[in-house]
């Protein structure tokens, strides 16, 4: 337990100690609470991004739709993309990095707990900043890809919100990435060597490297875009002089393609955790799954121009990027085969997390295969900017990332809340979602190949687009229904849910050794790790034929079941709470609003708030007095 600071200090700022109520949440530095905040916030944005999608589908249900104006449609498809990528999939991943990764490493918190809080509040501020553009009916309307010179020229404040909003969100992600990298390198429990880390932690590790290197590239481009818009520079704006709009595309996709793996690798990690648990078998080829993830992380840097085949980089560049794009399919395929190898010969339990994981694999295969067809450059000249591409990346990012993340939600929900989600409702959720998903996005393959262009607010009749668009709209509402089922499940089990216990799934990794929900200090006693899937080996041994034998309680491999939470955790010093991350974060969107509306005084006020927060952060006392 944290001991409150008693002795009067020479510093002005006392650390807050309230652990309950609103103030407890606002000042928390507990990685688990921050993880929960990330998760809830991402879910709120998921609902908003989903509503945008429903409006888009209503508009496109029939030819020459009149539900939305062109202007509103353009804002909605831009915000849908930005929301789902930056405010839903990334933070949902971050929710699990935050909550699970330290526990899976056997740590009591992340390396920099206050920085972690700062990441969350900055993310929230960035999201609120971005969405505040709707209040003046000037949401970003240049696409999530913000192609210049259009993005430098679009009237209104929309693309300024875009540039500054993404810079703020980028600060959040960069800071978090540094924090997680340090945590994984330094905070592992004794015996937790790199090759004993759970695959989810490995994928987290790779993702943080990608973030640290990819985000600065985007940030540079965003600053240049902002300068073009606000100060009349000519980085990308050809209306002012000989600028280079294609440079924007290189910078954007040099970030944008690693970003794709930033979105998908956490889901791959989650699925790699779940499959062994529900197959009662270890992950098939753990080192290969880990190395293929690393390989994807490296190769992901060499494929960015496959977003730009029709830009005119010439046949040599197009050849190089076609080949790199084809070969990044190899490590991805390896993962799929290893997952199937994990299932092979197992004893498969169809719990909801497992269903979502299997759905992930089944859908990701489709997205992976259509991805390979994009590498056929002469035919990509036909595919690019059509619904065929929209089909592909929804199979990867929804069929892939979202299914994987929901698998994680169902899997770790009992650990986080102490209550199991209802299995029956969960299964209804899964089947509705996979049905709705395929009805919505499978028709996009057909529409795209039939020549339906993306980002068009209406399409003429007699182009053969009518039927499949209607099917897709019906599917979108089934997805919405499936999400309502999920929220019903949450509401239903909140009070009356089955109590989970420490290890409801017969898990393999350290998080299942501690109580559900875990105490603030996670482990009363820091665990010592002897093997990959350490907890599993405390519960089971293999006989000579490699078959499982359960270790009797108190047997030679140690006692089965939860142990580390049994202590009272007295005398464990946990990091003290702080106001400062929140204060430092609040300044950032204020700077954003000031710059957007060219109210320089407001920007200065925001900067002062942030610097005050950071300064006080550096000076505030640690509560642990005796050192």
């Amino acid at each position: 337990m944290t001991t409150a600071s008693v002795a009067p200090r020479t510093t002005i700022f006392a650390r807050p100690t309230t652990k309950t109520g609103v103030w407890g949440w606002l000042t928390t530095v507990d990685h688990k609470r921050i993880g929960i905040l990330y998760g809830i916030t991402a879910m709120v944005f998921f609902v908003l991004g989903g509503l945008e999608a429903l409006l888009i589908r209503l508009q496109l249900a029939r030819p020459n739709g009149e539900v939305l104006s062109a202007d509103v449609y353009n804002q909605l498809f831009t915000m849908h993309g930005l929301t789902m990528i930056f405010l839903v999939v990334m933070p949902l991943g971050a929710a699990f990095f935050n909550y699970m990764m330290p526990i899976m490493l056997g740590a009591r918190d992340v390396a920099f707990p206050r920085l972690n809080a700062f990441s969350y509040w900055t993310f929230l501020g960035g999201g609120i900043f971005m969405y505040s553009s709707f209040f003046i009916n000037q949401a970003p309307d240049g696409g999530w890809f913000g192609y210049a010179p259009l993005s430098t020229q679009l009237p209104g404040h929309g693309m300024t919100y875009y540039a500054l909003g993404l810079i703020i969100l980028g600060i959040s992600s960069t800071v978090a990435a540094v924090n997680f990298l340090t945590t994984i390198v330094n905070m592992r429990a004794p015996g937790m060597s790199l090759m004993r880390m759970p695959v989810f932690v490995w994928m987290t590790f790779v993702v943080q490297f990608l973030l640290v290197f990819a985000l600065p590239v985007l940030t540079v481009a965003l600053f240049q875009l902002f300068f073009d818009r606000a100060l009349g520079t000519q980085f990308f704006n050809t209306a002012q002089g000989p600028a280079n709009p294609v440079l924007w595309q290189h910078l954007f996709w040099l970030f944008g393609h690693p970003e794709v793996y930033i979105l998908i690798l956490p889901a791959m990690g989650i699925v790699s955790e779940i499959l062994p648990v529900f197959s009662k078998k270890p992950l098939f080829g753990y080192p290969v799954v880990v190395f293929s993830g690393i390989a994807i992380g490296f190769m992901g840097w060499g494929v960015w121009a496959h977003h730009m085949f029709a830009v005119g980089l010439g046949p040599v560049a197009n050849t190089a990027f076609a080949l790199s794009t084809m070969f990044i399919a190899v490590p991805t395929g390896v993962k799929i085969f290893n997952w199937i190898g994990t299932l092979w010969g197992g004893s498969i339990r169809f719990k909801t997390p497992m269903l979502f994981s299997l759905g992930f694999i089944a859908m990701f295969i489709i997205g992976g295969l259509s991805g390979v067809t994009h590498a056929i450059v002469p035919h990509d000249y036909q595919q690019t900017d059509t619904y065929y591409i929209v089909a592909h990346f929804h199979y990867v990012l929804f069929g892939g990332a979202i299914f994987g993340l929901f698998a994680g939600i169902y899997y770790w929900w009992p650990k986080i809340t102490g209550k199991l989600l209802d299995e029956k409702v969960g299964k209804v959720h899964f089947w509705l979602m996979i049905l709705g998903f395929n009805l919505t996005f499978a028709p996009f393959h057909i529409l795209g190949l039939q020549g339906m262009a993306r980002r068009t607010y209406r399409y003429p009749e007699n182009y053969g687009f009518d039927f499949w668009n209607l099917v897709s709209t019906v599917g979108a509402f089934i997805i919405a229904l499936s999400l309502l089922t999920f929220f019903y499940n949450v509401a239903k089990t909140r009070k009356r849910g089955e109590t989970a216990g420490a290890d409801p799934w017969d898990g393999r990794t350290l998080e299942w050794t501690i109580p559900s929900p875990p105490p603030e200090y996670n482990f009363a006693e820091v665990p010592v790790v002897h093997a990959l899937d350490d907890f599993w080996h405390r519960k089971y041994v293999e006989d000579k034929e490699g078959r499982l034998v359960r270790v009797p309680a108190g047997g030679q491999n140690g006692e089965s079941g939860a142990e580390h939470g049994d202590g009272h955790g007295e005398g464990i010093h946990m990091p003290s709470q702080s106001y400062m991350p929140l204060i430092a974060s609040i300044g950032l969107p204020v700077v954003g609003w000031g710059l957007t509306f060219e109210q320089w005084w407001l920007a200065i006020v925001g900067a002062i708030i942030t610097f005050t927060g950071l300064y006080a952060w550096a000076l505030e006392p640690a509560t642990e007095e005796e050192h």
């Binding site: 104006s69 353009n74 240049g142 192609y147 050809t238 280079n244 295969i365 035919h379 036909q382």
Partner: protein
Amino acid sequence: MTGRNARRVRRGFWTALLTLLGLVAVACAKNAPQDTLAPVGPVAEQADNLFRPVFWIATVIFVLVEGMLVYAVWRFRRRSDADAPKQIHGNTRLEIFWTILPAVLLAGIGVPTVVTIFDVAERPVGNVVNVKVTGHQWWWEYEYMDVKLPDGSGNLKTANELVIPTGRWVNLDVTSADVIHSFWVPKLAGKQDAIPGTTNFIKMQAPAPGVYEGQCAEYCALSHANMLLRVIAHPPAEFDAWVNRQVRPAVRPSQGVVDRFVNTCFACHTLRGIESGGGATIGPDLTHFASRGRFAGSVLELTAENLAAWLDNPDALKPLADHPRGPTMPDYGLTREEIDAMVAYLMSLE
């Protein structure tokens, strides 16, 4: 319970599979004027010839891998709590096999792809038609680089409907006057981006006379969806006759219409042969406006009613107001009589 679940899983996968097969079945739908799977020109056919085998290879892999997944899920479903599956940690040989196999397969796809990339980029010479294509928010400008105007004012320029001869290569040099667009006529060739300050090359050939639909494929703000185009292929003799008609100056209207044009329309539009009616390229060249089948970015059929409605309130038919440099084609508040006179004149510009 478990058995039922396995059946459900199986059913789900079969649904997905059938969805995909349905995709194949309907892929060649009728009335799909932009269908990439029904190419007409040689460039589009080349792309299609690459795509088809890859599509079928992908389909086979899809069936095999999803089949393996479904089989594993069904075959190895839990029978009882006492299940004690063999703990297999991996199999190096198997893993090397399934790393190398896809790599080999991809290399096989890579070779013809690379050959075709270079093939498509090669510029035909000889008896070709050279056209400079310029994207504008939200219409297309075509300059026939080989057709000099008799009055010496440059090359022949038209808009939105690209007229080409059959059987000859057409070399398009694509650029933009404002933001990035992308020129795309799916049945004839794949797209290339129209980027300000640089040109990209597309070649196309129409083996048969006909109308080929296309559109701008790169998001270019408000009326991106209303930036359509058509390629109209005529037999060579008809094409030559069309060129001869197009190079003539515009029909001369009454003085009242001339005044109105000079005062309002000439800021953006060109009417060759009418005083001070040359040069402006903010809007389409109107010299032979009525020779085209559609107008306003090929969105509207060219009829007197549509044209009158357009002149009355352009924004209602095609959103234009958000243009970065002010509205294109503003509502000039023309009176009924003025509109009628204007429509009558424009419809005579064949």
